[in-house]
């Protein structure tokens, strides 16, 4: 039987990995991720999860151990944050290039220096081009669910997946989370059947030198797998909805039906934006909210569908690509390029390094959006100028 438990976002992830019956966990401590693997190590020690837990000496090794385990055909899991994710960078490419369905939780944390342990998306978005799927979750329930969904998708398209949750706002904040009946999870996510595992009796080399006559084709196949992942995601989320009663999509619209103005968010900030939009709707403002959940593969079709014909769109970024824009803004703008008539898009940078984003902030952004006539490359919200 499923049951509800009050869990922090991090512990929801630990439960997600447990429900997904991960077989090898390898991790290195970093705030604010650490409690994910602490709980997992306990669960493994208590024999509630049949897995090997490897306490490695760096995040680079944590990912490398997952890569080895996944190459050997096991379901592998790790979690990290910020500097740890950055240290893993090389191996993120490796996991994706080797087409290994590893799932990782990244707790969004600002990059140093100066040191910061609070939420910001630059760590995960810096890994945009590694070939990992990226899912930004908003709640602890989503954190739990997305571990399971991520494996289901990853193992079909043979690409690794990262679920991303905000430091402290989710990672250390408790909410009730429904933990599903294990048999049902097993039915949704059967044991991983690797097609290309490193195992005795199968003399293959895995990832050897590819000359210019083959390398491009392997990359083409990766892109095709990403494209396929969009359909697989939709199919699996429908099934997930049927089985567990939670309806997720690649993006999540809120009060969008007749909205002239749309605010686009990702991660935990969405909850604040949702409250603000709700209040503004009550005030009679035709504003809607679009939550970006799947960042890679990028849901072009859904984004275009949702934003087409709107008067104005504000994209909120808790991240910045220095010398350019907020990253979600930049991506959405490029997705909207072929859409006629042009939808005016504005990018707002806010909440960096864990600075609070309030309902008031969102409302102010709406007001700003409505009045704005001129195109502006980058709009800062809340910076002490």
């Amino acid at each position: 039987m499923s049951f509800k438990k009050v869990l922090t976002g991090n512990h929801a992830v630990s439960y997600g990995a447990t429900s997904a019956r991960v077989q090898v966990i390898s991790a290195y401590p970093i705030t604010p991720q650490t409690t994910i693997v602490e709980l997992l190590s306990e669960i493994v020690a208590e024999g509630k999860l049949d897995a090997i837990f490897v306490n490695v000496e760096s995040e680079h090794s944590a990912m490398s151990a997952c890569i080895g385990a996944s190459a050997a055909g096991a379901r592998a899991f790790t979690a990290t944050s910020a500097q740890g994710l950055a240290l893993m960078h090389e191996m993120l490419h490796w996991a994706a290039g080797a087409r290994l369905p590893i799932v990782m939780a990244n707790v969004n944390r600002a990059m140093a220096p100066p040191w910061s342990i609070w939420t910001e998306q630059n760590d995960s978005l810096s890994q945009r081009d590694t070939g990992w799927m990226q899912f930004y979750v908003e709640s602890n329930q989503e954190a739990y669910d997305y571990v399971i969904i991520a494996y289901k998708v990853a193992e079909q398209v043979l690409l690794p997946a990262m679920l991303v949750l905000d430091a402290f706002v989710l990672s250390h904040t408790s909410e009730p989370v429904e933990i599903y009946d294990q048999e049902k999870v097993d039915e949704f996510l059967p044991p991983y059947e690797p097609k290309f595992a490193i195992e005795p009796g199968k003399p293959i080399s895995y990832g050897a030198l590819s000359k210019p006559d083959t390398y491009m084709e392997f990359r083409y196949k990766m892109q095709k797998a990403m494209e396929k992942a969009v359909d697989v995601m939709e199919k699996e989320m429908n099934l997930f909805n049927e089985m567990f009663g939670r309806n997720y999509g690649l993006v999540e619209p809120y009060m969008m039906d007749d909205a002239d103005y749309v605010i686009v968010t990702s991660g935990a900030m969405t909850s604040t934006a949702r409250a603000a939009v709700h209040e503004m709707r009550e005030e009679g403002k035709k504003v809607g909210l679009l939550k970006m959940k799947t960042f890679r593969p990028f849901p072009f079709k859904k984004v275009r569908e949702m934003l087409k014909g709107r008067k104005k769109v504000a994209v909120l970024d808790r991240n910045i690509s220095f010398g350019h824009h907020g990253i979600f803004y930049e991506e959405i703008k490029s997705a909207m390029y072929p859409v006629e008539p042009k939808v005016p898009l504005y990018g707002y940078i806010l909440g960096l390094g864990g600075r609070d984003v309030t309902v008031k902030d969102i409302k102010e952004i709406y007001e700003d959006l409505v009045k704005r006539e001129e195109m502006e490359e980058i709009i800062w919200k809340g910076v002490k100028l």
């Binding site: 290039g97 080797a98 087409r99 043979l158 097609k195 290309f196 009796g201 003399p203 293959i204 080399s205 895995y206 990832g207 050897a208 590819s210 006559d213 083959t214 084709e217 392997f218 083409y220 196949k221 797998a225």
Partner: protein, 367 residues
Amino acid sequence: MAKEPIEFTDKVVKVESLNDLPEVPVSQRFTLVNKTGSWRNVRPVLEEQNAPCQNACPLKVWVQSFIDLLTRGKPEEGAIEILRNNPFPLLTRKLCKAKCEIACNRKKYDAPVSIRELEGFTGNIAYEKGLFPKREESLGKKVAVVGNSETMMSAAYFAYMYGMDVTLYASKPFDGLGLSDDEVKREVDRLKKWGIKVIEEDKDPDTLKSEFDAVITDKKDVENKLTFQTQDEKIFAAKPERKDISRDFYFGKRAAKSVWQYLKGEEITKDAPPPRAVSFNNIVTDYFEPEDRIDTINTMEEAIAEGNRCFSCGHCNSCGNCYVFCPDAAISWVDDFPVVDYDYCKGCGICVNECPRSVLILVPERG
């Protein structure tokens, strides 16, 4: 889990479209597709070389080979190998000057191998078991050998080995060597047992010319000291020098060989000098342990221990170095010997450098 049989072939993966490539960057076939033999500009070749002992021996006994056979567990084959060149190994054991041991490369390492003893011990197996070397195809020719000397005993032996019907006329075989009656009887009985007719009387060689196709004798003077021909083309003559019994046996062997050439209608040629022998500098001594020489050999254990001291210069005795040290797995071990796979051998030369006895040599590739 049942293992699927894997075909290790040199098949190429043809990549014409995306579908020919796996989803994941994993190998489909094997490097056997790379014929790395094309990298080679020198090729290792297994080529028997002469050993100094062999070259020093008047009879050119293939010492390395018989010691190899003996120590490989084939003593009878070793005995027969001796008998191909040495008719009376028990007599050489007793009387030979053993120039082989003077020339032995092992002398420069610790002490020469007891070749004379080993040859006698191994040869004795042939005596005990009544073994003889393989005879050449019969020419249907009759040869008389006339004389008592050890040279004539040897001539009779080799003439018979070269496929002739031999009648030996000797009233006192091995006369003048100081052998006991038993020793003489032992050797004469061997000749008889093999099939040589022995008539214990003296004859004038000239009287036998009509009855026989050729005559070998020690009673006449020789014309050509290299081929032992006389002025009479049917008569060949050789006498012992009594300096070294092996040399005296050699004279008989060489006279028999001339007769053989004569009866086949071939040109009678002198023996060419032997090819250069492997020198001590060619021996990789790191593969040999200093061991005390066993001077007299009475048991098989002693024989094998002493035989194992032999460097086996220029003769492959299946040490396995070439096989073990090949970085390219291009040498396989087939029926106890190395076989080089020239499709893949890159010609690095390790096998040649590590061959302790210079049997493997590098030869340039053409082109």
